[in-house]
């Protein structure tokens, strides 16, 4: 009997402790959004990153583990603009969680709060994997990232009103540090202005837009299609006339094509982290941009 009372007491204590410990369950489609949710949500959110820097966010399988995570999520933070169209709708339909359906407050699409680039006038499959809502890789422009942070903070406050002041404070703190960092990065990146780079996939449009870098060509003949020998030969001819400073790829893209073009043209290859966790040092959003700039600057010297 005494044992039973003890158990009941422990259970009651645990139950009482729950509300205080209850964090908002955030399912981030990509590591950059997990990092941003952690920046603006602090200890009030529990973040799960559905993908890593070593996975192509276009091509993720609707795995059972992800369905289980979406089932319990209170907020999805994703890129949107169709980046996750191959897997997120399936997770949403399978998980039976109405809080995170499209159009609900529990579904936050980062690309929808910023101005997007490369919105096509028409979409045809012969153009490859193009997104009707524009290029979705918006996180690589720190100015847009700041806008997204503001919108995400407001969304967190909407879903968790008790924490509204806390989120506002976190956002103010993050914004201050981030704006200082942007000023520092822009000063650092001055030598990159006007540089020409060859990209693997069009992941870098926003970074280039921010830094004034020109995209000289892509290793993929069309977005989403693997490169071919013919395409590389054509690219090399173009580069012979108008040279580029470097060939850029992410941790999740095979470096074979980049190496081949590099051997043909003598242009150096640079692997960029692309997202948090994509390189040593890219442990958070600040680190992501530090490492990216370091490597870009290292290649132009």
């Amino acid at each position: 009997m005494k044992g039973l009372i003890k158990i009941v007491a422990v259970v009651l204590l645990l139950a009482a402790a729950l509300p205080a410990a209850a964090q908002l369950n955030v399912f981030a489609c990509e590591p950059e959004w997990a990092a941003l949710a952690a920046e603006v949500g602090g200890e009030r959110v529990k973040t799960y990153a559905a993908t890593t820097a070593h996975q192509d966010p276009h091509r993720i399988e609707a795995r059972p583990s992800l369905i289980a995570k979406v089932r319990r999520a209170e907020l999805l933070v994703c890129s949107g603009a169709e980046l996750e169209i191959g897997w997120l709708p399936m997770l949403q339909r399978q998980a039976g969680n109405r809080r995170v359906l499209s159009g609900q407050p529990g579904h936050f699409e980062a690309a929808s709060v910023v101005e997007r680039l490369e919105i096509p006038e028409q979409v045809d499959r012969s153009m490859g994997d193009v997104h009707a809502s524009g290029n979705p890789h918006v996180h690589l422009d720190p100015r847009r990232l700041l806008q997204i942070a503001g919108a995400l903070s407001a969304r967190l406050a909407e879903l968790d009103p008790i924490g509204a002041d806390y989120y506002r404070q976190r956002l103010a703190d993050f914004s201050g540090r981030w704006q200082q960092a942007i000023a520092r990065w822009e000063a650092m990146a001055a030598p990159l202005k006007g540089a020409r780079i060859v990209v693997h996939h069009k992941d870098w449009v926003y970074l280039c837009d921010w830094l004034g870098i020109e995209i000289a060509g892509a290793l993929e003949p069309r977005p989403g299609l693997p490169t071919s020998a013919g395409h590389l030969a054509g690219l090399r001819r173009e580069l012979a006339n108008k040279p580029a400073g470097m060939i850029v790829h992410t941790a999740y893209q095979s470096e074979r094509a980049a190496r081949r073009l590099s051997q043909m043209s003598g242009i150096p290859v640079v692997e960029l982290p692309y997202t948090v966790g994509g390189a040593k040092g890219a442990v958070d959003l600040f680190g992501l941009f530090e490492v990216t700039l370091e490597r870009l600057l290292g290649a132009v010297k």
Partner: protein
């Protein structure tokens, strides 16, 4: 201009099914097949029905389907798939799927109603264009006539746990093969299934499934027999039928990045028990008949490996077994339920090439010992998809 403004302002179209126009998707599937045998196909010990068969010889069309789907509103999703195929020179339209599904019940619950592929097994609710081989495993051919689908209701629930756990139940009409007769006032079949799944590290993912299906069958027919100039006799079964199954899938991709290389291992086992009566229906008042008590089972295991972008190679082994007893062995034999002392097996190897994720070309070879005359089957196939095409299941 107004459109681009709307886009910039953040009124982005929802990712899928949210537009005003439904998603229309077309699958094109064409084949060339070469066989060594000319004999009529049979699967000793199994009464064939549904789509079961070895397929046509030479150039022919496969599974061409047109699907229309969209969110009806914020509560329901709807989908219809029509399959067009040729049957004896005429093009037939078949309503493959037509269902609605709830979107927003919450708490892990979903209800589906209409005509749909049953949630049993692993391969069953996948469309043939998503299969890794040009044809269904033998156990699906023998037990379900390639795939089990019916008209009815499905309720499923996903548990709020870190380990994926989904439980589903179905009550269906029970008129289509392998059921028949729409017993129990048009609710003659039911199914239960459970799925468990998760990850092991970043590179591995798995799913385990258990299924059970049962039906009260009234007059299930299978392919008719004609005896030299006589009347056709149609083997007809009435009685109970239960099918139990287990399925397992394991997928590997280095760091979970499947673009360069990935491996998929999959195996399923089903066993069916039936007890009832077989009648050789020849239209007469007193057809031949026998009491029948049978067990049929089968399994397959397959591996599909993408060794470089665009290229995959696959290997599959099938095996069936049956143990059917009846009062009149001769009638059982005429109904195709005599295993003729033969264990049906088949070994298949395939190579496919996908220029993009929307197009696939496949070369497949099978050593088919599913009946007594061993056959060599070569198939060349294309499968292409046009239009918005929803994500595939795991």
């Amino acid at each position: 201009m107004a459109l681009s403004l709307a886009l910039v302002a953040g009124a982005a179209p929802a990712a899928e099914g949210g537009g005003f126009n439904p998603d229309i998707s077309l699958i094109l599937d064409g084949r060339y097949s070469a066989y060594d045998n000319d004999t009529e196909y049979e699967l000793p010990g199994f009464m064939l029905g549904g789509e079961a068969g070895r397929g046509e010889e030479g150039f022919h069309l496969g599974h061409n389907e047109l699907a229309v789907s969209a969110n009806v509103d914020d509560m329901y999703y709807g989908k219809m798939t029509a399959v067009l195929h040729d049957h004896e020179g005429e093009t037939e339209v078949e309503l493959e799927e037509a269902y609605i599904e709830t979107l927003a019940l919450g708490n892990g619950l979903a209800v589906k109603g209409g005509r749909f592929f049953s949630g049993i097994g692993y391969l069953n609710d996948q469309h043939p264009h998503a299969w890794d081989f040009a044809d269904a495993p033998l156990v699906y051919r023998g037990l379900f006539g390639d795939q089990l689908r019916d008209d009815g209701l499905q309720v499923s629930w996903v548990a709020p746990t870190d380990l994926y756990f989904r439980l589903g139940g179905e009550i269906t009409r029970g008129e289509r093969f392998p059921a028949g007769g729409a017993g129990n006032d048009g609710a003659g079949a039911s199914a239960l299934f459970a799925k468990l799944g998760g990850d092991v590290g970043a590179s591995h993912a798995w799913q385990l499934g258990l299924s059970h299906w049962q039906a009260e069958i009234e007059g299930r027919t299978s392919g008719g027999h004609v005896h030299g100039g006589g009347v056709a006799e149609v083997p007809t079964y009435s009685g109970d039928s239960t099918v139990s199954g287990i399925d397992f899938v394991w997928k590997w991709a280095p760091n979970g990045n499947a673009i360069e290389r990935n491996l998929k291992l999959q195996a399923e086992y089903f066993v069916r028990d039936e007890e009832g009566t077989v009648v050789m229906d020849d239209g007469s008042a007193s057809p031949e008949t026998t009491r029948y008590d049978g067990t049929q089972s089968g399994w397959y295991a397959q591996a599909v490996y993408q060794f470089m972008p665009r290229w995959r190679v696959g290997l599959r082994y099938d095996q069936l077994d049956s143990d059917n007893e009846g009062a009149d062995e001769e009638v059982l034999g005429e109904a195709g339920l005599d295993d003729e002392g033969h264990t049906p097996t088949r070994s298949t190897v395939m190579l496919d090439y996908s220029y993009s994720e929307y197009s696939r070309l496949r070369l497949q070879y099978a050593k088919d010992d599913s009946y007594e005359d061993s056959d060599n089957i070569l198939t060349v196939q294309y499968v292409m998809s046009l239009g918005p095409h929803g994500a595939h299941k795991f």
